[in-house]
């Protein structure tokens, strides 16, 4: 390979060059490669999602690195060039000569983002099978059977050598890997799920608490792994961990429960608000009554204006707009408001007829029956009998 500086005119490369990136082309194959130029500031180029190398340090120290065996042409090419390419089988991170390659660096080098599937190129056991908690790799070892199958335990008590593979859960009895048929021939029934105990390698039965701690640790590991591999946000990772803790719930019961709760709550809220408005209207009208009895017409109109705009109008408009949400209290408050509207008309006379552009006194109602009586007036203001 002979890498030389690209001197062509293709815009996607020239634009990168103008941004300070180093664009190389291979004279043999024509392959393009974009690398960080000498002027590039690595701090600036770090993708915003990864502002520190904490995650990488963690993966470097705890990862299970093995030689990369995926199909990504970029890494395969590096391997052919003699670079040491390794992949962590847990997180999927790839490092070249010991340095973890971020997606952004991959993009800078190849001009495209890495395929997500590269993380699953790696064969291998699951996280929990790796014995992350104890830091031991049990994938290649046969261990003494530590599960709960009473038949196998009985064999062990008889001195038979019973082993189990930590990665595959296969059972080996006296050096022979048992199939379910072997088990059937021995015990007359097929085996249940014979699991490797990953919790307690000492051979004792795990406590319930240790089981729960183990499940919790696995979910935490799972959430962390997901957030690293698939680029999920931190809150998403927390949710992945949290959602498994939610109790089950019956849909029908839940919907009826929520519906009744909201129905009762909005009815309570509406009627209580109407009650507060009623208090305001009641004392506001009482003030008008006192001024009316003091026979000060100017102040009466002054205060009637204020009370109408700031107490009556919001109260009655709320009553009309939201009161029907509680049909049980609506009629009662309707009577209350009709009564107080009659009171207002009684004290203010035809004041609102002129103030609001309509003959408010025509809306005077019979507060005893609740029925509306339209009063007719002559042009001189006297009522039609």
């Amino acid at each position: 390979m002979v890498w030389v500086k690209y001197e062509g005119t293709e815009e996607r490369y020239t634009s990168l060059q103008s941004l300070g990136y180093e664009v190389l082309t291979d004279l043999d194959t024509g392959t393009m490669r974009v690398t960080l130029g000498s002027n590039s500031n690595p701090d600036v180029l770090t993708p915003s999602g990864v502002t520190s190398s904490t995650i990488f340090d963690d993966v470097q120290s705890k990862g299970y690195w093995y030689d990369y065996n995926g199909a990504d042409p970029y890494y395969v090419g590096l391997q052919k060039d003699g670079f040491t390419v390794q992949q962590d089988r847990v997180s999927g991170y790839i490092r070249v000569n010991g340095k973890i390659i971020t997606d952004y660096e991959y993009y800078k080098a190849t001009g495209k983002m890495p395929s997500v599937s590269k993380y699953y190129d790696a064969p291998g056991p699951s996280t929990s099978d790796l014995g992350m908690e104890t830091g031991t790799d049990i994938t290649k070892s046969w261990r003494a059977y530590n599960g709960g199958d009473l038949n196998l335990l009985g064999l062990m008590e008889d001195g038979v050598d019973v082993l189990q593979n930590g990665a595959t859960d296969e059972i080996m009895v006296n050096g022979k890997v048992w199939t379910p048929v072997d088990y059937y021939e021995e015990f007359g029934k097929f085996p249940g799920k014979v699991t490797w105990s990953q919790l307690d390698e000492g051979g004792e039965w795990p406590s319930l608490r240790s089981l729960l701690l183990q499940a919790d640790a696995e979910r935490m590991q799972s959430a962390t792994t997901y957030s690293n591999i698939e680029g999920k946000s931190f809150s998403r990772a927390i949710w992945e961990k949290f959602k498994t803790k939610l109790p089950s719930y019956e849909w029908g019961v839940g919907i009826v429960d929520a519906g009744l709760f909201l129905l009762a709550y909005e009815m309570e809220a509406v009627s209580f608000t109407e009650y507060l408005y009623y208090e305001a209207v009641r004392w506001g009208v009482r003030l008008l009554k006192v001024i009316y009895l003091h026979k000060d017409t100017t102040l009466l109109h002054y205060f009637a204006d204020k009370i109408y705009r700031n107490v009556w109008a919001p109260a009655y408009s709320f009553h009309l707009a939201w009161g029907p949400l509680n049909p049980f209290s609506f009629d009662g408050y309707e009577v209350v408001y009709r009564y107080y509207w009659n009171e207002i008309l009684k004290y203010t006379g035809n004041y609102f007829d002129n103030a609001f552009g309509f003959r408010a006194s025509e809306y005077k109602t019979n507060s005893n029956t609740g029925s509306e009586t339209i009063n007719e007036y002559h042009t001189n203001g006297t009522q039609v009998e």
Binding site: G147, G148, D149, L150, G192, K193, V194, T195, W205, P206, L211, L212, A215, K243, T244, K245, L246, P247, S248, Y249, W251, G254, D257, A258, F261, L262, Y265, A269, V270, F272, T273, E274, L276, Y277, E279, A280, V281, W283, G284, R286, L287, V290, L293, H294, F303, K306, I307, R309, N310, V311, A313, P314, A315, Y316, S317, F318, L320, A321, F356, F358
Partner: protein, 152 residues
Amino acid sequence: MVSQTLGSVQIGGMNEAVAKTGSTLRKAFPYALKFAEGMAFAIELVTFQLYFYEEAMVLFMRIYSREIYNKELDKIWFDQVVNFDFIFSWYVSDWKQYGILAVYSYNAISSCLYQLRAWREYGEILTGGMPSYYDFQHIGDYLADAEQVKNF
């Protein structure tokens, strides 16, 4: 078998298999209910806190309104400066700080405050004072609603 029992880990009262297969919405539902109940509790807390001020003012107004009706000027002056202002300032202060959390009763309480302040204004006028301007915020355009009332 013992091992099979231990292998099925219970998570939050739910079998592990169920925990992994239930839909997200289904599992989130009870928590949404708890959230709604928490919101309702906050609203009720503030609403009743302010309602007790309203009750205190009503107790006071039974005396104060009678004094105004009888034009007992010295009592009016004393009561509105000492008692009215004492309760009312706490009432307004709490309403301004927390009233917005009361959500649905916010406007109703501002109407209550307004008519109380109107009583005090009339008391001031009786004791030689001047008409004064005051305002208590309403959420929304209730005057537009009042137009609906007019057309009703």
